[in-house]
Structures are given as structure tokens and as C-alpha cells.
Amino acid sequence: MTMDAYRYEDGSISYPGHPRSRDGAEPAETIDLSECTGEVITWTTSTATPPGVRTPNTLAIVEFDVDGETVRALGGTTTDDVEIGQTVTPVYVEELREAGVGIKPADGPQEWDGYRFEPV
């Protein structure tokens, strides 16, 4: 499992990747963010969660620096003890929310595994 961001031909990076960059450039390569550290930009603890989602659910937006270009990712955190400016790293989680309990089917295109952020 990797946490792939896309670098596009115009130099921009996004996570997740898209068929084109914000300015229409094609993808040039993938960059695995799972081995990187990033900084918490903001966070929240949600207590009104949808079916199949842990309660409470602390989420953070994390900014990574990749060779001077920034890219952000949203994800859950492994702890509720989060602060703006905190350094975190992604850790793999097999099931982020219970598959098929909500509106999306368990065996559809939706992926259910991924990364949460853990303070370094």
C-alpha cells in the first residue's frame, strides 16, 4: 500500500491524483507520501459520524513539503491529542470505516483502507 500523490508536467502536486492538474497538465509521476512527515494545518473532532465511522472521529488536514512544493492530505488521526503545527506521519490502517455500512456498496470502487496520521 502506498499513499500516492501525483506530480504533473507543470510541476504541481496533488493528493489524491487526478487525470489533469488544476491547470490542465498531465501526470508525470507518482510520489509516495507514506514515508514522509507533514504538518497539521487544522483539525477537528467530529462526534456526529455517519454509519460505519468511529465516534469520535478526529480528522486533520496535513501539509507535506515535497522538494519545495507543498501538497496537502486529509485523514483521520491515531490520537485525539492533535494541535495545529504538529508533525505527523502516515500509518497504514486496513479498514478506515466499516465497508458497506453507509450508502456505498462494500464491493464497489470505494477503497476502505488507507492512512491515518500519527504524531511523530
Binding site: 496533488s14 493528493y15 489524491p16 488544476r22 494545518i41 487544522t42 483539525w43 477537528t44 473532532t45 467530529s46 462526534t47 456526529a48 459520524t49 455517519p50 454509519p51 460505519g52 465511522v53 468511529r54 472521529n57 480528522l59 486533520a60 488536514i61 496537502r72 492530505a73 486529509l74 485523514g75 483521520g76 495545529i84 478506515l96 470505516r97 453507509g102 450508502i103 456505498k104 470502487p109 470505494q110 477503497e111 476502505w112 483502507d113 488507507g114
Partner: protein, 385 residues
């Protein structure tokens, strides 16, 4: 191209928990709107139905055809408009296009949603399904986007937490004056600050409720409106825009780019500036959104809307009354109906039929937001000169 577009009539149902299903709600508002304008069903050329998710909520699709039949509009052209929470505003845009292009001389727009028969968790999941799969798998919800952004806004602009509570207090106060609002009870800043946490730092009173309801507007060329009445408004500007699907990819999370773009387009079309607006309905699905839209539309400098809210600038007796209807916060948020109901409030203010919440207004603005600013429409109406 035909002449200017008039708003000839409007209506809304009682918002809240209703026994009626989606087709009944739509028919209630649509029928009342035609009656309000004194227009017979056979005069309607186009019918637009703003609705986000009747299939997901009720297993009922094809609502535009059902409504055309129920209101005796057959064989009028009908179309369902889905732009998530901005479906109502997108319906105003579609109705404007239909009249302005000359394709229709009488267009009925009805927005509606039936939600309260589902649990809050289920409704939250239906709405959260608009997010990117990379967001959805983390259990993100629209309220959690609001929590993430509110924390950043308060920190970045040194705004007190009480300023968000003031938005809720104001809009509840306005809702008391609106007989169709879901909540008609005043609250205090202390009650707002003591309510349960939903998405830290936001609490229960920072969020709109789950709602059933419907609203309608009737559009035609000004020349046709003159044949019916002197009491109409002119839809002088409309604009629509999108922002990124993935919310965290935006350069500045506290700037609603699609609001900036859509309102710029609407102002340009109307030939007006933010200072020309006398009353506004903003999409206060969450209290933080009222600040973000005030700043993006140009009613406040970035990071300063909270000061104007605390100074009373946005109250009914303030310099620019915002959400006199009670807003989504107090009036309720039946997804597809909300943008139409915003337009209905502006229409009522401009024709002088807003009752206890009437303000002095020659021009009004309605901003309808889908997702967390993912897609936005802005409409500007002016009183008949």
C-alpha cells in the same frame, strides 16, 4: 434574446418535519406559487425541479415529470436540477437561461427535499457521498469540513468563538419572525456556547437542522410580468462557479473561491457592487459559512466579517441585514429547496411582502452553496423601477 427576466411570484411550504413526501411537498409549493402569481397551469412552458437526492432519500426518481403531471403542466418541458445543496440556486440559473434565451415565456421553478424520515447519521452519509472517495473513506462529513475551517479561521484571524455564536443567535431571532421556519425560538450566546460539540470547535447551534420542505418561484420576461401585476422583482444578475472537488486542495481553506467567482459574475451582469446590496440571504448551513461568504461576496474584508457580525451590522436593523428569513440555520435546510427559498425571501423583501422581517431594500442577493463551496450560484434581484 428576450428582455429582462422578472420574478412574478413565489411561495414556500412550512419547513420542518413534514408528513408529506417529496412529490406532495413539491406540488404544495408549486401550486401556491402559481396561485400567488395568478398564472394558469397551461401558461407554463418550462418546469425545473431542484432536488438533490430524492432517489437516495426516498427511492423516488423522476420527480420533475411527477410534478408536471400533478400540477397540470403537461406537456411543458421539465427538467430536474441537481447541484447538491446548491440545486435551488442552480434552478434559478436554469430558469433565467430559459427565459433569457427565449425558449420559455413562463418558467416555474420548484425546489424540495424530504429528509427527516431518515436518521441524522443516514442523512449525513447521503450528503457526505458528494465528497471525493479519498475523503469519504475517512468518514468526513460536511460538518467536519466546517469544524476544520472554523478552527483555522478563528486561529488565523484572531476571532473570538463568541462571534460564531452571534450568527446563530441572530438567525434564530430572525426565524422567530418567519412563520415557515423550522425553529422559531430565540437562543442566547451562552446556550450556543454550551451546546454539545458536533465538530470541534463547532457545536450544535452552529449547524442547520435536517429538514423537509419545498419552495417555488415563477419567472417570465418583464414584458409578460407587466400583463399580470406591478408587484414583481427583476432578476438582474446570476452567476455560477465551481471550486475543487477535494476541499483540502484549495490554496486557502478560508477563501470560498466559487463564491468569489459566482458573485463577481452576478455583480457584473447586474452592473452593481456589493455596496449596492440592501439585503442578502447567505448559505449558513454552518455559522462559519456566513463569515466566509460575507468576505467572498465582498461585504467584508477577509478575516473581518466576524467583527461586523459582533457589531450588529448584519442584524435586521443593521447596515446589511443578512438572512432575514432565519437562514438555513433557523428556517431549515431541505437541500434542493434552500436556494429557491433564499430567492423567495429576497423576492418577498423586494415586493414588500416580508411582514415582520421587512427591511428597506431595492436590491438583494442570494448565495447558494453546494458541498463545502464546491459549486455555488449567486442571484441578484432588484425591485421594479
Amino acid at each position: 434574446m428576450s428582455d429582462s427576466v422578472a420574478v412574478l411570484g413565489g411561495s414556500m411550504t412550512k419547513f420542518g418535519q413534514r408528513d408529506a413526501w417529496i412529490c406532495e411537498l413539491l406540488a404544495e409549493a408549486g401550486s401556491a406559487c402559481l396561485a400567488d402569481a395568478g398564472v394558469p397551469p397551461d401558461a407554463v412552458d418550462h418546469l425545473y425541479v431542484s432536488n438533490m437526492a430524492s432517489g437516495e432519500f426516498e427511492g423516488q426518481t423522476g420527480v420533475m415529470n411527477a410534478l408536471a403531471h400533478d400540477l397540470g403542466l403537461v406537456p411543458a418541458y421539465s427538467q430536474r436540477v441537481d447541484q447538491t445543496s446548491a440545486s435551488g440556486g442552480a434552478g434559478i440559473y436554469a430558469a433565467w437561461q430559459s427565459i433569457k434565451s427565449g425558449a420559455s415565456d413562463m418558467t416555474l421553478l420548484v425546489g424540495g427535499e424530504k429528509m427527516t424520515h431518515r436518521s441524522t447519521a443516514e442523512s449525513t452519509d447521503v450528503i457526505a457521498s458528494i465528497t471525493h472517495p479519498a475523503e469519504y473513506k475517512h468518514g468526513v462529513t460536511l460538518p467536519s469540513f466546517a469544524g476544520l475551517t472554523a478552527r483555522l479561521y478563528l486561529e488565523q484571524f484572531d476571532a473570538p468563538r463568541e462571534s460564531l455564536a452571534e450568527v446563530a443567535v441572530k438567525n434564530h431571532e430572525n426565524g422567530v419572525r418567519n412563520e415557515n421556519a423550522q425553529f422559531r425560538t430565540e437562543i442566547t450566546v451562552e446556550e450556543a456556547l454550551d451546546s454539545p460539540i458536533v465538530a470541534d470547535p463547532l457545536r450544535l447551534y452552529d449547524f442547520c437542522p435536517v429538514t423537509d420542505g419545498s419552495a417555488a418561484l415563477l419567472f417570465c420576461p418583464v414584458a409578460v410580468a407587466e400583463e399580470y401585476t406591478d408587484d414583481y422583482a427583476v432578476l438582474s444578475g446570476v452567476g455560477g462557479a465551481t471550486d475543487t472537488h477535494v476541499v483540502h486542495e484549495r490554496d486557502d481553506p478560508t477563501t470560498m473561491n466559487a463564491v468569489v467567482d459566482s458573485s463577481d459574475r452576478a455583480f457584473e451582469m447586474a452592473g452593481l457592487e456589493p455596496d449596492d446590496i440592501d439585503v442578502a440571504e447567505l448559505h449558513d448551513m454552518f455559522t462559519i459559512l456566513e463569515f466566509l461568504q460575507m468576505e467572498a461576496v465582498g461585504f467584508a474584508e477577509q478575516g473581518r466579517a466576524w467583527e461586523q457580525a459582533m457589531d450588529g451590522w448584519t442584524r435586521l436593523d443593521g447596515d446589511l441585514p443578512i438572512n432575514p428569513s432565519g437562514g438555513l440555520k433557523s428556517k431549515g435546510h431541505p437541500l434542493g429547496a434552500s436556494g429557491v427559498a433564499q430567492g423567495y425571501e429576497i423576492y418577498e423583501q423586494l415586493v414588500g411582502e416580508a411582514g415582520d422581517r421587512q427591511v428597506s431594500a431595492d436590491a438583494g442577493l442570494a448565495c447558494n452553496v453546494g458541498g463545502f463551496g464546491n459549486c455555488v450560484t449567486t442571484a441578484i434581484m432588484e425591485a421594479r423601477q
